[in-house]
Symmetry: C3
Subunit: 249 residues, 3 copies
Amino acid sequence: MDQVEKSLDEKKAVKSEPKSCNVTEFVGTGIGDAIGLVIANVDPQLHDQMKIDKKYRSIGILGARTGAGPEIMAIDEAVKATNTEVLSVELARDTKGGAGHGSLIIVGSEDVSDARRAIEVALENLNQTNGDVYSNEAGHLEFQYTARASYAIEKAFGAPVGKSFGMVCAGPAAIAVVLADTAIKAANVDVVSYASPGNGGTAHSNEVILTITGDSGAVRQSVIAARELGIKLLGTLGSKPVSTTKPYI
Amino acid sequence: MDQVEKSLDEKKAVKSEPKSCNVTEFVGTGIGDAIGLVIANVDPQLHDQMKIDKKYRSIGILGARTGAGPEIMAIDEAVKATNTEVLSVELARDTKGGAGHGSLIIVGSEDVSDARRAIEVALENLNQTNGDVYSNEAGHLEFQYTARASYAIEKAFGAPVGKSFGMVCAGPAAIAVVLADTAIKAANVDVVSYASPGNGGTAHSNEVILTITGDSGAVRQSVIAARELGIKLLGTLGSKPVSTTKPYI
Amino acid sequence: MDQVEKSLDEKKAVKSEPKSCNVTEFVGTGIGDAIGLVIANVDPQLHDQMKIDKKYRSIGILGARTGAGPEIMAIDEAVKATNTEVLSVELARDTKGGAGHGSLIIVGSEDVSDARRAIEVALENLNQTNGDVYSNEAGHLEFQYTARASYAIEKAFGAPVGKSFGMVCAGPAAIAVVLADTAIKAANVDVVSYASPGNGGTAHSNEVILTITGDSGAVRQSVIAARELGIKLLGTLGSKPVSTTKPYI
């Protein structure tokens, strides 16, 4: 009984409002030790160091210990909905001992309310964009899909804006090589990028990350085919992989 | 009594057949969250992305969360025994929170049965090649030796094919600097490569990796001298380091 | 009661003499799985591999699984006090699953007693230089300050020797972007370097690291302002961050 209540409490904790903090720059927190922040007037010395155009007086910041794909997708929706631009997407080798990435994403705006709104929207999106992240004790799988990519996806992967976009990723990387082949064969899609531990595109994470574009039905079909196989393959190294939140694709 | 049975069960678990999986591409699993896979007909788009010559219609894939040296040595034996070629060796910064690497190794063949056989042989070899990997709560030591290096060792370290080869590695890296000096002084050997966290050869792991060549007796003597010292030095940071399986050198 | 004694024992363990080891090269151990070592006469082959001038017959080695800033600061004091030179400072992506770095630092001397003394001094300094490293379950904060930087700080960050130096760092990196802005605005200081996960200066850690110079009062004021804010922001992701030892700034 105690156990059940504890589980419910934990679930509520995830869905509850972020822990508040009496600091102007604080926006909120999210899954994966994600934190959202804003700076209303970036100091000129910091502008120079970050190589950011000074017309972006305000910046919004989204970072996480666990997750890069979910944050990129969440910011992609946020920039569609707000008057902001994606200034940088950086991957860290993290996930707190897991096989993948953490992230640091910066958006810019002339007015701080726009940057703040973008980060709020992104934090709200994290529940959905973590939906097709599956994990067990041996590793993780990540799948993403959108019918219309925007500027965060373009910045991170070089994918065409306005077109359908899909992502297939797994760690250990070996599994993702097979998932990549499966995704490409499952439907008529074009490869946008292929990242691997030692040959670029990752921060030496133990992942292969394939991104694809094409007709939206085809992209979705490819991602779903890879997801089905990935759950089987990662399961051979441990228990059945489970979604972080709720699958959305 | 229960404890003893549990231990035996765990040992059996390691030695038992890998968890099976109803997927054509699956070959098996091994120590360190290793997984072996094959693709019979690599999609041409994936060939391009992986920069693999299209004459290798089939590829074998060996990857692990924990371990790169053991996988390289295991594939080295596998390519001696099969009609395959080592196409790439990539290091990931991994070991699930440990100081070292995970790995992604690709072998190519014209016929899928060759690639599959290579991965089977490699998975069988992992028990031996993990034998001189020692660890405690503070880090790990790794030693490898072969009387005759083949193409995986050449690809990974630039060592001469057909000659004796030794590897000395430890994390934290500081310990391995002393082990490297000890190995070089212990016998008449030539250094092949020296990798460190910030100056190349590692994926920013907390390791120094020395590889040596020379007369087989000398190489073996060097590796053994370093191993003896390494167990003492890593032991100052925690409990006595223990072998992952059973020492073979 | 047992609990209390255990806690005291653990505290004593940290402050007690390092576990001894019957090896000439061993100097001692410290916080963060730090280990200090010396080599009296570096083998010429190792000199070449490490790209060290052969006039440094002896080297001192300080490495850690958890921590780079504390080790750099500790060596900085050590080279002020001894006849040694800082030959290299390398960052590893480590901290045993945390967001930051491990380290490998080499000092050189003509006489082994100098190298040994430098490493002894550095190990003694680690308790202090870990004082403004704060952590909780979600990440860490690190602050450093000295009124007079020496050669380790110059080597690691390019900071001017003989001048006041401050460092502001946090993981997840998002928090540190705001801390950097706060530090720069808090007093009249000049930025020396800004490192981030994907744009250089880190080993893909999930950190932003800002270093500053200027009037010593101003630098100290900047660091303290960032520290106050950092404790609040990291606290939104978990419990209140606590110092590893005892704050010194």
